[in-house]
Symmetry: C2
Subunit: 338 residues, 2 copies
């Protein structure tokens, strides 16, 4: 018989989770009291919160047969939150985790989630970050919320509102692969039939790899604006454009290059890979703007430029023209769209 969450009381379940979490010097007082205490060396704390919901953000069983493991969900919870801290130019110091699970959830699934959190923290290079505390609740579906804290190390945060006309638009990390992976998981194509490109796409969807070194490096290099691409390049570039009162002009050649690793999968599913590049979120690439003329930091590729704000132009253009929605996903994700 499978041991489930309902077989253990809360403290017994927590006792199985805590040893799987890493520790770091940033957490001055860890789990076990009413609250934790975390170092905030420059007198400020960066904070964000992000949630994954079963059957919205992941499925325990996908149409193509893949099962999202606890490890996947834990990894993604860590990764997407780490990405938010990165996008401010900050370094993560700690997380608090709230886990809502049905009583029939296997204890192994919860242990895997803890392992996935720890693995993402370590493999993505956020070893100064550890889990400072958490909360466990019963519910009818799995909901995983992480709130994350970080340190700006004395720097000013890089906002989405700082882009200037003349700046270079640059990307670190990938776009579109998680969306391709999601489309594959929702398809009828079994994993056994995947080639390397499809395996890569599903891996990025399940265990995104935001470029965590890039945020602080970009901040130090003089990035004028930064944004985590969580809802798709078009939608997130629009946010940057509106916040900065500029126009973001994307380079079509750069978009085609970003689409290259998606062609095979797009052909397989009868999709346009540019839809994924423009509309797909959840790779958690980092969109940044830099003053023209400075060398882009390692890991960044120029994908467009910043033009003066204009009432006559849409906030985002491709070679000066309004992008034409080619598919349903082009506008990015909306959690409540029917």
């Amino acid at each position: 018989m499978t041991l489930t969450a309902g077989d253990l009381d809360e403290s017994a379940l927590l006792a199985r989770i805590f040893p799987r979490l890493n520790s770091s010097a940033s957490v001055l007082l860890g789990p076990g009291d009413d609250a934790a205490v975390v170092a905030a060396p420059d007198g400020r704390t960066v904070v964000s919160i992000d949630t994954q919901v079963q059957d919205k953000d992941f499925r325990l069983r996908w149409p193509n047969g893949h099962a999202s493991t606890g490890f996947d969900v834990g990894w993604k919870a860590a990764a997407q939150n780490l990405s938010d801290i990165n996008a401010m130019g900050a370094v993560a110091s700690s997380m608090v985790v709230s886990l809502t699970i049905p009583s029939q959830t296997p204890v192994k699934w919860v242990e895997d989630l803890a392992d996935g959190l720890t693995a993402a923290i370590k493999e993505l290079g956020a070893g100064d970050c550890s889990v400072a505390g958490g909360d466990l609740s019963g519910g009818s579906e799995i909901v995983v919320t992480v709130a994350i804290l970080g340190s700006l190390e004395g720097r000013e945060p890089v906002l989405r509102s700082g882009a200037q006309a003349g700046d270079v638009l640059a990307l670190a990390g990938t776009v579109g692969r998680a969306a391709a992976g999601w489309a594959l998981l929702e398809s009828a194509i079994p994993i056994a039939d995947f080639q390397l490109e499809q395996e890569d796409a599903v891996r990025i969807f399940c265990r995104p790899r935001p470029p965590l070194a890039a945020g602080p490096v970009a901040a130090k290099a003089g990035a004028t604006a930064m944004l985590d691409i969580s809802d798709g390049l078009l939608r997130d570039a629009t946010r940057l454009a509106k916040a900065s009162a500029v126009v973001v002009d994307l380079d079509p050649e750069a978009l085609l290059t970003l689409a290259e690793p998606l062609w095979e999968t797009a052909a397989l599913l009868g999709m346009d890979p540019l839809d994924w590049v423009l509309g797909g979120g959840e790779d958690h690439g980092l969109l940044s703007t830099f003053p023209a003329g400075i060398p882009l930091p390692a890991g960044f590729t120029a994908i467009g430029s910043i033009l003066p704000g204009s009432h006559n132009s849409p906030p985002v253009t491709i070679a000066g023209k309004a992008p034409q929605p080619a598919g349903t996903k082009t506008a990015g994700w909306d959690h409540f769209a029917r």
Copy 2:
């Protein structure tokens, strides 16, 4: 027709929420970017996270006919998190809020939730605290998670592990009323039949009033240990006893005094009011220990004493004897108990 969350996109829904939230000087950069920035004046941040789940922690419609409003749920989300910061002897600076809601949730319900958060922050005296950011997700049931940050103002945190033999055990706030309120809501007695005592119990369950001034005051007065009573006096006193390696001895006269405002309701429901006093959580009273001989700070009442740790004694006694479980709730709440 009722406007629901599914009728609005995420940004339109957020635009209805943000104006309802208060602002405070602690939040250096508020909602609208990838993350917020919060002041941490003494170089440390206290952090905790707590979740409420529909049909576990609240019901949209209770057996007795009462409807938990968004205002109630928002109030409680704020109150129980503020209580965790208070129990460290700290002062809350900010919250980040994650809200998972079905698309058919009325927009009005979500707006009420924001109003409830704001009202609790203000009325409970936590005006330095404001909502720094949040996340909205779709799901099949309502899940509200708040992560809260606070400042120790240069003091050391008061842990649950610091109680010493000879200390006085003291309580600020109430115990048992929320449990009585919960029992009333789960009963067949309509609100129209409530007397003052029942109205009070339901009010405390729906909108708990943790004594937020008491935590920092107790810390300054020299409290040796502190704990938010969220899972019941017996269970939380046991945690304090085990963490401090002492025995907590409760005074039966004090317990009877705490039970006094519950007699009528207990008689109505055929319950023992001491079960609620000993086992009921969610009033979010503050359990503290103080060295003998110092005057208890305003708002605290002595309810027992700390004895040396003993292998032959249970961690919590009543006048030296092991408490006898009189009812199912005596052991406090367990989120996974079947």
